[in-house]
Amino acid sequence: MTTTLTTPTLAPQLAANWERLCPLEDLEVERGRAALLGEEQVALFLLPGGDVRAVDNHDPYSGANVIARGIVGSRGGRPTIASPMYKQVFDLRSGTCVDTRGKAVKRLRVWPVRTLDGDLYVLRGGAR
């Protein structure tokens, strides 16, 4: 593995538990996309600075798989996603709900993502 990382003629590779999802260019800035990862769903977001964030697509408040379809914004400088269902707002970096609309605090799990050669990868089973 170390040799492939340092040999310029060979493309670097990620371990098998990183799953390739799509070319990065399939994402639009500040508009989410859902991805299917086995039985689970991940919501992907490309932020204006080029950062990619991945959280659960499952909205813990409504039980529907809709987080990717919300509005991306910011609260106090932190990037956020507002669920399109009941409008709870989550911090995209930690998954914490920052506006619960009067409900109990719930959170989205956050998935590790990385990009390699213009492709986007997510770590299977990596949600936390």
Partner: protein, 853 residues
């Protein structure tokens, strides 16, 4: 000759001292600050925010005080020696600074435990920006080299250790916290509270081991740390170790010149924060008061204020440590304040525990159960902001009410006394916050924070500050801010005018000029609506597509299970038999639930995201267009059959309804718009419950406006009577356009009309008598709308880039959401209820019918 003050150290306490000196001093003074981190002072309390993406600049404390000509900051020239006889300080570069007053604010260094291997590569402390920066780099490097999540071990289960573990997790590393005592945060929490916290931390995916004493750190073949050895004999694998086992006061300079120091570290101070040399003060973590050094920012600030006052000739005293703390770890709420361990003789405690919800709260009260002495809150610290200011004062009402979950019994709302401290970091009282609003002209919480520093440090009191500010503004009869949200201070109406006048056409340009940040779910849709009216662009064009909530984005209505409803336009409720057959066929082929809406058209529910283009292709081919049931825009024009068929009809209401619906279709508004047209006074179209209701009379059309059905029904009011067709349409044009320009966000015509200057008479003056000279402008704007109207769905189907947005999954574009489940009911489908999904009810998978494109 000015007073010369030399401050050794450039941390938070030093910053506060200098800030207070330059603010308060009237006499001449010169302040020299000697730092050693090569940085301007920054918010060390907020260090963990570094991992949330906050940069060093974000954390920097306001640098304006260093622009003051009386202040000189040497960020990177640490003091190396003090001469108490000559009263000078010498720095590393050899410069000698004479002083009249010397203030030691050297803080602490993070201690490493005295175990073998504590200095190995891969072992970090957690104290400075440099520490967290190198920790972050190390995690990234190891993650790349190992190609698996990095295993991190945090030695120390206190406040800082838990924040460090959270930070590791935020970098996708695994985290295990080792605590030598029997519970986490043992300085702040008792055993039951610590046990609840442990469960919360573990639920967050951080492993915890208590009574785990680290005896050695072992290196791997590369010389970097590889494992942690515990006294019990276990060995834990570790790719990196963070050591948070306490701090050591940096008292070396003081010791070297014979100032009295505590044996365990710290420069001894009295209640004037003066050391054994009357010319030398000590503040912050290096200062030992009554034998103790404390690593919290609030006492450091309090000491800074005392020293400032003393230097300026006052007689302030340090009242002792306030040990209140709040854990800054997302998703885990912990606070401890006052006499949390009930050490006061006769103290009583009241405990509320809910192990299922992971909540443990304890209040400590005086022996008569009237005075609040302190408390611990784990799992739900929402009461911290309200309770902590009450320490030492009467609690008011039943103490238990403060502990019960929100939504149960409401806590007593006795007003906070002026002397209650709201912000303990900056020692700001409720009275000072009220004063800032009343006398200093602050009009919002942000202004008060800038003015008083309340809420500027740890932020745990911001909710309390905001409620005090709002309460005071209301008392003063001042309007609470009408800004849209934190990004836009303008109201919708002001924003509309601003965009109109500036001619800007993109979100980025508008937010840069009239707002800040990247917007949110409140301001983005408002601006999308304004831009759609003024620009006439397709709602999915370019950047503006990201402003829309999902309904406008995919041009359908989101339902509770994440599917959508589809409503083609049927102007005036008119539909041909052929059209009705196509709708029926589409609903049948895609397995949709159908229902007649209140607006005289057909709703098809249960359509999945990826089916929408296929469904619409068939509808558009049959001559249908978008019904805008999803938009804040014209919905329907409801009508009776009118004079064409009805025995009693006076005018042709259906014909007028069709004309009006085709004229105003697609018009974006602050809220939805509904119209009704009745062919006679019997009012079968229920027109007076609409935003605009038109009723035929023998003299012509009567126009009623501002009606509403829904939760707050209101009959529309008569605006004009006996109108011919053209005058009716011109009046409606102006009415809608004036509403579009002046209403607040999500304000329907009924409340808009109630709030409008002069009410219905005022409206009549503007649109019928042209009292504001706006009429021509309003007419032109509506003409532009009519001319620019295009069917959004037909345009979308012709644009491959827009169609890409209807893929269900970026890596499986046509796979249905596997989470969807329907059950049969009365011959159609409906979403399965949770108990039906878990039980063995018959579930119907959605149709996967592929339709020729």
């Amino acid at each position: 000759m000015s007073t010369r003050i030399v401050v050794i150290g450039a941390g938070m306490a030093a910053h506060r001292l200098v800030d207070s000196l330059v603010t308060r001093a009237e006499e001449r003074l010169s302040v020299t600050v000697l730092g050693d981190e090569a940085r301007r002072p920054y918010d060390r309390v907020g260090l963990t925010r570094f991992f949330d993406g906050d940069s060093a600049e974000d954390l920097a404390l306001p640098a304006t005080i260093f622009a003051d000509p009386r202040v000189t900051l040497h960020e990177d020239d640490p003091a190396t020696a003090i001469d108490r006889g000559d009263r000078t300080v010498t720095t590393a570069s050899g410069v000698v600074h004479p002083y009249d007053h010397l203030v030691l604010a050297t803080g602490s260094v993070a201690a490493r435990p005295p175990v073998e291997g504590a200095e190995l590569p891969g072992c970090f402390v957690y104290r400075t920006l440099e520490d967290v920066g190198s920790l972050q780099r190390h995690v990234q490097e190891r993650a790349t080299a190992l190609d698996r999540p990095v295993r991190g071990v945090v030695v120390g289960g206190g406040l800082l250790g838990l924040e460090a573990a959270g930070a590791l997790q935020g970098m996708d590393a695994e985290a295990t916290v080792l605590q030598s005592s029997d519970r986490l945060m043992s300085a702040q929490l008792d055993l039951p509270a610590g046990a609840v916290l442990r469960r919360l931390i573990e639920a967050r995916g951080i492993a915890v081991r208590t009574e785990a004493r680290t005896t050695a750190l072992r290196p791997g073949p590369d010389g970097a740390v590889e494992s942690v050895v515990l006294r019990e004999g276990d060995e834990l694998p570790a790719d990196l170790v963070v050591l948070t086992v306490g701090v050591r006061p940096r008292d070396e300079l003081a010791r070297a010149v014979g100032l009295d120091c505590e044996e365990r570290g710290g420069v001894r101070i009295d209640e004037a924060c003066t050391t054994s040399d009357p010319r030398v003060h000590a503040i912050g973590e290096v200062a030992a008061f009554e034998g103790q050094c404390v690593g919290l920012v609030a006492p450091g600030f309090a000491m800074a204020e005392v020293v400032c006052d003393r230097i300026l000739g006052g007689s302030a005293t340090f009242a002792g440590y306030d040990l209140s703390t709040k854990l800054k770890l997302s998703g885990v709420d912990v606070a401890s304040f006052g006499d949390a361990f009930a050490t006061t003789p006769g103290a009583l405690d009241i405990v509320y525990t809910d192990p299922v919800a992971g909540v443990h709260k304890k209040l400590v009260l005086s022996d008569d159960a009237k005075t609040l002495l302190g408390g611990m809150l784990v799992g739900d610290a929402s009461a911290y902001g309200a309770l902590r200011p009450l320490v030492g004062g009467p609690l008011g009402g039943d103490p238990a009410a403060h502990l019960l979950p929100a939504g149960g019994l409401s806590a007593p709302t006795s007003e906070l006394p002026d002397e209650a401290i709201v912000c303990s970091c900056s020692s700001v009282s409720a009275g000072a916050i009220r004063h800032a609003v009343r006398e200093q002209g602050c009009t919002d919480a942000a202004g008060v924070t800038a003015c008083t520093k309340a809420g500027a440090t740890c932020g745990s009191c911001t909710v309390m500050v905001k409620s005090l500010v709002t309460g005071e503004l209301v008392k003063l009869g001042k309007a609470v801010t009408t800004g849209l949200c934190e990004h836009v201070d303008l109201s919708r109406r002001q924003l509309f005018d601003a965009v109109h006048v500036s001619g800007l056409t993109t979100f980025s340009a508008v937010i840069e000029r009239f707002g800040r940040g990247r917007g949110c779910d409140v301001c983005k849709p408002v601006l999308a609506s304004i831009l759609a009216v003024l620009g006439g662009e397709h709602v999915l064009d370019g950047e503006n597509a990201t402003l829309q909530d999902t309904n406008d984005h995919v041009m359908a209505n989101l339902q509770k299970d994440g599917t959508y409803s589809v409503v083609p336009r049927m102007p005036g409720g008119e539909v041909t038999p052929e059209g009705l057959i196509v709708v029926g066929e589409v609903a049948r082929d895609f397995g949709l639930y159908t229902k007649i809406t209140g607006g005289q058209r057909v709703d098809m529910l249960g359509a999945r995201l990826e089916q929408l283009p296929q469904i619409w292709q068939r509808l558009v081919d049959a001559g249908f267009e978008s019904g805008h049931a999803y938009g804040k825009s014209l919905r329907t024009v409801k009508s009776c059959v009118g004079s064409a068929w009805c025995r009693y009809g006076v005018l042709d209401s259906t014909d007028m309804a069709v004309r009006l619906e085709l004229r105003y279709r697609g018009l974006r508004a602050p809220h939805k718009l509904k119209l009704g047209v009745s062919g006679c006074a019997r009012e079968c179209a229920e027109a007076r419950s609409k935003d605009a209701g038109i009723i035929a009379t023998a003299q012509g059309w009567n126009l009623y406006v501002g009606g509403n059905g829904g939760a707050t029904p209101r009959h529309a009011e008569l605006l004009a009577e006996g109108l011919d067709d053209d005058t009716l349409i011109r009046t409606l044009d102006r009415y809608f356009m004036y509403y579009l320009r002046t209403a607040d966000k999500l304000q329907r015509t009924a409340p808009w009309l109630e709030a409008l200057d002069g009410g219905i008479d005022g409206l009549r003056a503007v649109i019928l008598e042209d009292s504001l000279g706006l009429a021509a402008d309003l007419d032109a704007a509506m003409a532009r709308h009519v001319e620019n109207y295009r069917d959004e769905w037909a345009e979308t189907l012709a644009d491959p880039a827009k169609l890409a947005r209807f893929r269900s999954f970026v890596n499986a574009p046509t796979t249905p959401d596997p989470g969807l489940a329907h059950v049969p009911e009365r011959g159609q489908i409906r979403p399965a209820r949770p108990e039906e999904r878990d039980g063995d009810s018959v579930l119907i998978a959605g149709t996967t019918l592929e339709v020729r494109r």
